[in-house]
């Protein structure tokens, strides 16, 4: 029973850690599938985290914060689009520039507005997304196994965790079942064909990047107003890059990407629980080794199990119309 509980609590932590990764990776999927490299996920998330926390702190509402987070992230996305789609700039450079600008701008603005050394005020009450107890969760807690899974694992997350869970099938549906999705995939593989069909490549890429901004905005908002309680400088701590790795790992497909994110989050959760625990046979494992575990696993999996990753064919190539 105790092992069972440990596993459930581990999975519970996995969900919490995976949420921003899943949202950001799906965000990256739209952009990259449309042929635009987006290493600016990190910066967009950070920008969204800051705006969400700042607006939530002033307005006292987490929902208005979410709106602000999404808007900020879309604005950054449009900036990326303006540089790389309209002006055919280098996509990696533009993405990196966004990361650096946001990393510097957020604490500067935070300092100017709140004079708290680049942080936003501590959020409480309605300014933060609170865990939601699903119906019957309390009552079901005592039912063995199923009830416990329901009340501990499924219930009691904040709304964004459920949103992230829902976003996987929704994004898969958009990507594979709608006209927009088909065109996004086509424009990433062969923009000339799309252009020949009389569809604007630029506008399509703009739309894909707006989707990216939207999802990234939710991911960033989660960090500062749901999982955390306020913005702290560089609080994304590399999650945007991790999401990008998960996207490549998942071969730019929604469901494998989800599993990649869950795997990263799971190793992170295990890592938190393995520290200082006496394991059978090996004894206590050094902290440093445990902390390296997620990365070792990533390298091993990427090297051995994923096979050949096939990126969208025209990714990273600005589309220039032949005159």
């Amino acid at each position: 029973m105790e092992t069972f509980q440990t596993i459930i609590l581990l999975l519970d932590a996995t969900f919490r850690v995976a949420t921003p990764l899943v949202l950001a990776a799906l965000a990256g999927m739209f952009s990259e599938r449309a042929g635009v490299v987006d290493i600016g996920l990190e910066g967009k998330m950070l920008g969204a985290a800051f705006s969400a926390a700042a607006v939530a702190a002033v307005s006292g509402s987490a929902w208005i914060g979410l709106g602000a987070g999404i808007l900020a992230s879309i604005a950054l996305s449009l900036l990326h689009a303006y540089a790389c789609v309209t002006h055919k700039g280098n996509q990696v450079v533009s993405g990196m520039a966004i990361n650096i600008v946001v990393a510097g701008l957020t604490p500067t603005l935070g300092y100017a507005w709140f004079s708290m050394g680049g942080q936003t005020p501590h959020l409480g009450g309605d300014a933060r997304f609170k865990p939601i107890t699903l119906p019957f969760a309390e009552a079901a807690h005592d039912i063995p196994i199923i009830g416990y899974i329901y009340s501990e694992l499924i219930s009691n997350h904040n709304i964004i965790v459920y949103l992230a869970a829902a976003s996987v099938p929704i994004c898969a549906w958009i990507m594979y079942k709608t006209r927009f999705g088909l065109r996004v995939r086509a424009v990433g593989e062969n923009p000339h064909a799309v252009d020949t069909a009389g569809i604007s490549v630029d506008w399509l890429r703009y739309k894909a990047l707006i989707m990216t901004g939207f999802l990234c905005g939710i991911a960033g908002t989660y960090l500062s107003t749901a999982h955390g309680a306020g913005f702290i400088r560089d609080m994304t701590a590399g999650k945007g890059y991790l999401a990008l790795a998960a996207l490549i790992f998942g071969k730019w497909r929604p469901v494998p990407t989800l599993f990649a994110c869950l795997l990263f989050a799971f190793t992170d959760a295990v890592q938190a629980r393995l520290q200082g625990v006496e394991l059978p046979i090996v004894g206590v494992i050094p902290v440093q080794f445990i902390q390296a575990l997620p990365y070792i696993l990533t390298v091993l999996l990427l090297a051995g199990f994923v096979g050949k990753a096939n990126p969208p064919k025209s990714i990273g190539v600005p589309y220039i119309k032949e005159k």
């Binding site: 050394g117 955390g228 702290i232 609080m235 701590a237 629980r273 902290v287 902390q291």
Partner: protein
Amino acid sequence: MMKKIALGLLATAALTVSGLAVADDFKPAIVFDMGGKSDKSFNEAAFNGAEKFKKDAGIDYLEWEVTKVSEREQATERMARKGANIVVAVGFAQAAAVEKAAKAHPDTKFTIIDMVVDLPNVQSVVFREEQGSFLVGMAAAMASKTGKVGFIGGMDIPLIRKFALGYKEGVLYANPKAEVIENMTGTTPAAWNDPTKGSELAKSQFDRGADVVFAAAGGTGLGVLQSAADEKMLAIGVDSNQDHLHPGTMLTSMLKRVDVAVYNAMMSAKDGTWQPGIQVLGLAEDGVGFSVDEWNKGVLTEDMITTMNKAKADIISGKIKVTNYMDK
């Protein structure tokens, strides 16, 4: 002719004297470490000390918040070159930078906090963290209902191990059967500034049965305290008094009077009483301690305070020996 020279000399002397007397060119500087001056913890304590100096002495100070590892050397060097009379470097990680700058600017005074740099123009202030941690460890053990308490450190370095060891000894002193769950956030300086990781670590400890957690992790600790407030568990703050962050779930804070150290360094440099060498601040010097205030009233009960104060006296008198991790 002679008269003229004498007059000139007099004038020069007068100028020199007045220059000394006014001393308005006294310029102190402070370099905060990663985490930033508003981490509500270690750096903020240093910031409060500098602010107090500014208020009392009416002299503004130069400051630099280090945000990248590579900036440290640049920061101390720049401060010295800008003509600061004293540069206060906050944090163990600045030792190499201070050493370099102190050698290059032998006339500038340097004070480093949390580390020892053995140079004729450097003052090193170190704290007996293990003593303060011992006391809050006792509080944790006394407040715990499950007999399990947690410790979350920032970056895995000897200084944080020092906190952890003192804490553990305090826990076991108050309750020999208690269990301490220990976590470190990471092995890079980013571990000082990852509140979401802190909150995950705290949750994992609560899942394993801990009901009191002590965070010695800078900005990461804020996530730990938040998590304790969310889950209605008890938390212990560090360095600054953090009790006001979550009244009701804050058991106490392990105070490390970095503010006093910074204030004294600047003030003594201004008065000319500044001395190089090593200063060790422990319970006896009131360099470390625990917070009792309106926010943790009732959470930290009178009984606990009495027991802790008794242990404090015993530590000062040497009756209780707290192991210093650095001496091991």
